[in-house]
Symmetry: C2
């Protein structure tokens, strides 16, 4: 039988619930590692990664700082490698590399470099056991096997892992317990997001610019949505902090622009004003959030997330939309997203 | 006489040398303020702004951390406003808002919010005297009057001001003294960048994606180049940390893609490999740096910056290219960049 375009990636998208459940089944192991890691104090946490993993680092840093009064930031691996003194000199820093594959060149280069400074420890957030080889500590997303080049379940499962870490370190085990049924919530959300994305792409033939907006933990997720639409759909896509969108980038908005609001409970009031303005400029608008259909009812498409989660808990689910929009753009264009142009599973740079 | 498209913005681009010279003529005032600011210790510096000023904050944070062993980061105003506890709770933080106009809604909201926390002081980096009304301290770029909506000299002069601040706080007054002739260096660079941009746009009719890459202090500058091409030229434009470009976004590269390398002395070796790879995919490539014609000689266009400056010193000059590319895209499309679509001088949000 002939291979169907993007079938491997599409199948893996639907395996995300199993990845969350595998983490829920290994929470004891994760807590054991975190107890050791946070037996020490740190001046700062630096989450690092490349591409999808950098966007994950952005979400993880926001989550951690929100649950723990320790400064955190996301820095891409190449910056740590090129400018280690700028980031870790004379400080007690926990560096957290995030990877699907342990052998991505820049991750290895960055971690080897910063670990040569005396105040640095590293905790890998990873899908690959081999990350243990060059890190002080490691927490693992144990069920994320991906045959595709495109990261889907590896991304969302590590978002989930980072949320668990933030909550545990912040003494909020009750919020982790409230995610016991996360796999089933994800199954429900997958079906709804799939239908939503299919409708959007089918009903708007001329779309040529795909924007995702989000604040707080949703900013990193928005960036990953941007990345999926680019990698899978070879389309012009961008992501911004929601209120940043007025400061320049909205100059491109017209009736061929899709704008997806990953709505955060803190931002719905301002999001509603922004959404109304973007509709005036002709944009097709989509709102996703706990009560999006009430908060952002002017949107052309609304999807509520009725699972009773807070914004941090929602983060591993809310970005499914980017995966499906990427998939349906690819379908429409006849692209096989299983073999994305120019890309490979891990970027290895020759010496 | 009929108004020529973009003539106001174009004229202001050529007034940037005067803005640098005005700062050089008021260094004593700036040092006096900085002596007061840094009489105290801070756990962290947070540079903040919106749009162009956020990109400036990214460059400024990198410069400051490189000259001073104090953690620094850039955070957009809306994030500080929505999530003050995530960023400033229980810490001694110097928050540095960057603005052309003091009345941008989000800047005011963010600063009023974070200053309600006991450990926070604020130092405005500004073109507007009225910033003094809601900040503890202020350093001013005194000659940046702009009639245009598009920020040009306000951006570069505050990059210069941020570099001066980083050097002064880091005890490197010799590096500031070495910029005594910065106005003349800028005049020379303006002419060369203008010619370069005109050649690129004239010789490549089909360009439809404009990418700027930079690491370190050049990342924020690259983002501002992205922004200029979007605001002035209504074109798809993006910016990335150079090595991040392989991790997804390069999937869009073809013969209609322009890639500008803002080359940093630390990154030329890896930049050369990346540039060669992007040429294989068909991209039109441009390299700008101190010795770009030697380091990145495979580029389709090279421009050397022979002024004897280091990377931090170069930062206020190297981004001129984005202003001129934006201008020549607008010229080609018949757009008047003096009246950019959907935009205004400062974003004011109604309550």
């Amino acid at each position: 039988m002939e291979k169907r375009n993007s079938e491997v990636t599409y199948k893996e998208i639907y395996l995300q619930p199993e990845s969350f459940e595998a983490i829920n089944n290994t929470l004891g192991d994760i807590y054991g590692v975190l107890d050791k890691v946070f037996a020490e104090d740190y001046d700062e946490l630096i989450f690092t990664g490349c591409g999808t993993s950098l966007y994950l680092a952005q979400a993880a840093a926001h989550a951690f700082s929100s649950y723990n009064a320790i400064p955190s930031k996301a820095v891409c691996c190449s910056e740590l490698y090129y400018f280690p003194e700028t980031f870790v000199k004379n400080r007690k820093v926990l560096v957290l590399p995030i990877t699907r594959k342990s052998y991505t060149t820049e991750v290895r280069m960055a971690i080897d470099k910063v670990r040569s400074y005396p105040g640095v420890k590293s905790l890998a957030i990873t899908c690959d056991q081999d990350s243990a080889l060059y890190n002080d500590f490691m927490i693992l997303s144990p069920d994320t096997a991906e045959d595709s080049v495109i990261m889907t379940r590896s991304f969302t499962s590590m978002v989930y892992l980072a949320a668990v870490m933030a909550m545990y370190a912040g003494g909020k085990k009750d919020e982790i317990a409230a995610m016991a049924g996360y796999g089933d919530s994800a199954r429900d959300a997958l079906k709804k997001m799939d239908d939503l994305a299919k409708s959007i792409i089918t009903e708007h033939e001329g779309l040529n610019l795909f924007i995702t907006l989000g604040q707080g933990i949703n900013y990193g997720v928005a960036n990953e949505c941007m990345n999926k639409m680019k990698e899978m759909g070879l389309s012009n896509s961008e992501a911004y902090f929601s209120l940043e969108y007025r400061h320049g980038p909205m100059s491109l908005v017209d009736e061929n622009t899709l704008i997806i609001f990953l709505s955060h409970s803190e931002t719905v009031k301002e999001d509603a004003k922004l959404l109304a303005q973007m509709k005036e400029y002709g944009a097709v608008t989509v709102a996703i959030g706990n009560t999006a259909s009430a908060d952002l009812k002017d949107a052309d498409y609304c999807l509520d997330l009725p699972y009773g989660y807070n914004d941090t808990q929602n983060a591993a689910i809310i970005g499914f939309i980017g995966q499906f929009i990427g998939y349906y753009i690819a379908e429409k264009k006849g692209i096989d997203a299983d073999s994305p142009r120019h890309l490979s599973q891990a970027i290895v740079i020759s010496a």
